[in-house]
Amino acid sequence: MSLSPLHRSIVTAACGRLIPGSVAAGVVDYIEGLLGAFDVSPPRVWAVTPRGSAFHELSPFEEVAWRRRIGDWQARYDAELPLLGDDFAAASDDEQDARLRAQPALTSLLYEHACEGMYGAPAYGGNRDLVGWRTIGFEGDVAPRGYSDDEVALP
């Protein structure tokens, strides 16, 4: 499962309005990677390491759950992205914002996934070059170095 070229263009434009800078951070790749999680084996659900490319095997029950969950998201994108209009990517910023506000359920789903792609571990395809974390000053995964006692206790 994935996005058609038209739907990818809509998702790209929408993510750019929802979180400025998120397209460059790879959130559209994150969303496509999520919808296409089962295109690779093991599926792209649980990264073995935050910056690696390996994923954990799912149990048979977990696979049932994740195929259903991702199938539901794919169905929603397929059904609801057209509500933003095929010309969404070409619309003005104000027009795009108005159309997003008019579709709160879809916008909420897109925003949740954009947040995950922007601020999640880069293993999932977003947060490219850690730009999501760097933009907000978040240090992210620091294991195994961690923080010194002074870095914890002092301002």
């Binding site: 979180i19 073995v48 977990e62 978040f138 294991a143 961690g146 206790a153």
Partner: protein, 527 residues
């Protein structure tokens, strides 16, 4: 305890194994990582609510089957259980907690009772639990603590910066904060390293295994060669014949129900929601099985401080205070106003949010998003208190088997029926006033108070679930005896917080471990 006594033990765990190699020498696995998506959004530690949901309703009145299906107080379904995701605050209960009925008296609508075990009897087991799990703490720091026979095995780890601010403010308003006793190594201990302060603690498995989650004792048991661990193995029934537990029926992913015999005993430790589910699935018919469900009533008093707090560094909670557990004159006056003889709060954790996905999803989208994330009113500046308030036992709060919802195996799921007693709400309202004052004293520019259940959700969200297989000295008013043996099946032992008589105002982990050690020693004939 049992393997040390020479017993052969087989552990069935319905969840996955991300903790420890099943093969000798049982090295610790490296599946736990600093990955917010994996742990807080994608159910890595299970249970996945699409696989194993629960149902919830506030009351059995009327004809409501359920109001909600999905996650309800889910604890991890994984080898190690709740210990894996917990940030490891492991306080002891106080002497008073074991005899509330004698000390404070009854409350209408609640089943307040004394425990059949005293603090004095349990103290050696608390000590054994702290040594076995590995607890870092300062024995002299908490003026409300009950007596103890020795120091903690390790000194406390470093305090979080934000915690030092609220601890000082609490002292200025007359409270008594102290370093939280924490099951995270402050120094190498038990063959495991010291905590690295990475900050991915509450709701995460520890990437370096500095947490004293059940791995500490489990690894020792496995190394005896007398313990077999079977993950992905769901026990659907304890088989009882003529009042004797003779084994269990279990299944893995293929759905084939298999039997495993037990020559001596069956121990159930599924937590206070899954344990009564299993007892009911097994056909046990004591009318109190599943009754007296308790979940700490959580009061959150949060605010935003001017300075950046870097709450993503450290052990998630490093200071707590116990003042609200004590029934003082103010608490008695508040109780009287609410029509109650007394009220008690609970231990207060100094804490705040720390990770960005959680934060981002609560902010609005659009042009202001990046600025909001950089300024970070939540992740970098929000801090405050969470009181784990005592939840009174009520017979109407219960677990039973859902008549309509089944898990992926086709087995009825646990149905939660729960509403707080007026005590919890009155205690929350009373104690939140002082917590708000302390937070403003710490410099909070604004504050907000919310409760769970209540403002945050209809159902409780505390992971501290207790009381559904109550222990006691009278088989007509309790499910298990003082050594946690099911009255009608003496070789069936419940070894989790299901047996709690009251909820106290403290996390249940250390107490349930101490009780389990005591029950295991009795099983093995050494207590």
């Amino acid at each position: 305890m049992l393997t040390a006594a020479g017993w052969s033990v087989c552990i069935f765990e319905r969840g996955r194994n991300h903790l420890i190699d099943l093969d000798d020498p049982h090295r610790l696995l490296d599946h736990f990582t600093n990955d917010e998506l994996k742990f807080t959004e994608r159910h890595f530690l299970g249970p996945d609510p699409l696989v194993e949901p629960r149902t919830f309703r506030r009351s059995a009145d009327g004809d409501v089957d359920h109001e909600h299906v999905g996650e309800v107080n889910d604890l991890p379904a994984t080898v190690g259980g709740g210990g894996v995701h917990a940030d490891g605050k492991v306080p002891r209960f106080r002497e008073d907690d074991f005899r509330l009925r004698s000390l404070l008296g009854p409350i209408d609508g609640a089943s307040v009772d004394d425990w059949p075990v005293s603090y004095d009897e349990l103290e050696p087991w608390y000590t054994a639990a702290e040594i076995g799990v590995g607890v870092a703490g300062d024995a002299a720091a908490n003026p409300f603590a009950s007596w103890r026979s020795g120091p903690y095995p390790m000194p406390p780890g470093p305090p979080m910066y934000a915690s030092t601010i609220t601890a000082s403010a609490c002292e200025r308003v007359g409270l008594h904060p102290y370093a939280a006793p924490t099951a995270a190594n402050s120094m190498p201990y038990g063959g495991r390293p010291a905590c690295i302060n990475c900050g991915f603690c509450a709701f995460y498995g520890c990437p370096v295994h500095a947490k004293g989650d059940p791995v500490a004792m489990l690894q020792r048991s496995l190394l005896t060669g007398r313990c077999e661990l079977r993950p992905d193995s769901f026990v659907s029934r304890v088989v009882v014949r003529d009042g004797v537990a003779v084994g269990v029926e279990w299944q893995s992913f293929d759905g084939v129900v298999r039997f495993e015999g037990a020559t001596r005993a069956v121990v159930v430790a599924g937590g206070a929601m899954e344990t009564p589910r299993l007892l009911l699935l097994s056909g046990l018919d004591h009318p109190l099985i599943g009754r007296h469900l308790m979940c700490h009533f959580q009061t959150f008093v949060m605010g935003s401080l001017a300075q950046r707090l870097h709450a993503h560094r450290g052990r998630a909670v490093t200071h707590v205070h116990d003042d609200h557990v004590v029934v003082d004159a103010d608490a008695r006056a508040a109780a009287k106003s609410a029509g109650l003889p007394w009220l008690r709060g609970g231990m207060v954790e100094h804490a705040g949010p720390a990770h960005p996905i959680q934060e981002a999803k609560l902010y609005p989208w659009g042009a202001a998003h990046v600025a909001a994330m950089r300024d970070s009113a939540m992740r970098e500046r929000m801090w405050g208190f969470c009181m784990q308030g005592e939840d009174l036992p009520q017979t109407s709060n219960r677990i039973d088997l859902s008549p309509s919802v089944r898990d992926i195996r086709g087995v009825p799921v646990a149905r939660v029926t729960y509403s707080p007693h007026v005590h919890e709400q009155a205690a929350s309202a009373h104690h939140s006033v002082l917590l708000d004052r302390a937070l403003r004293e710490a410099g909070a520019e604004w504050t907000v108070t919310a409760t769970a259940p209540g403002d945050i959700s209809a159902w409780p969200v505390s992971k501290h679930v207790m009381g559904t297989a109550r222990m006691g000295s009278d088989p007509s008013t309790s499910v298990v005896d003082p050594l946690q043996r099911v009255w009608s099946v003496p070789n069936l032992v419940v070894a989790d917080s299901s047996v709690f008589v009251t909820s106290a105002g403290y996390g249940p982990t250390l107490t349930l471990v101490a009780l389990a050690l005591r029950a295991a020693a009795a099983l093995a004939g050494s207590a």
